[in-house]
Symmetry: C2
């Protein structure tokens, strides 16, 4: 089970790319998905796919490589409870 | 450039899995991401990754395999303009 409060801290690094409010108006070609409000189970499976390389995104692999299953559950819990910006 | 109106029709098949409002309350383990309000450029790159197999998801590959670039642009335009349910 994920701890959203711990996830808030652990996901601070994600905000650099993912945390730009209203960005698709300002940067119409910005390819970074919004994470707020996505189902925790989806976020966890995507992070694990980046960690394992099943999803081949280099930057996301670098981010996910150091995450434990608990980190991932916490981050997923936090982001799924955050508003879809 | 994507045509959101054409995209509305073309994305009707997606709604079977993606179109369940409030599903993460009803199905906490549901792994399907919400698409509404995601940046069009992200949706298009994800669909192309499923089409090419770069993202190895069997169901999504089956869905995307028949889509042209224009289909993808239209679907991305529609979904990015839809509310984040």
């Amino acid at each position: 089970q994920g701890d959203a409060e711990a996830g808030r801290v652990k996901s601070s690094t994600c905000m650099g790319c993912h945390g730009i409010p209203k960005y698709n108006n300002a940067y119409p070609t910005y390819r970074v998905p919004k994470l707020g409000g996505q189902p925790a189970a989806y976020l966890a499976s995507a992070l694990k796919a980046y960690r394992s390389g099943e999803r081949p995104h280099p930057t996301m692999h670098a981010q996910a490589a150091s995450l434990s299953d608990q980190d991932i559950a916490d981050i997923a819990a936090f982001l799924s409870s955050a508003p879809a910006n």
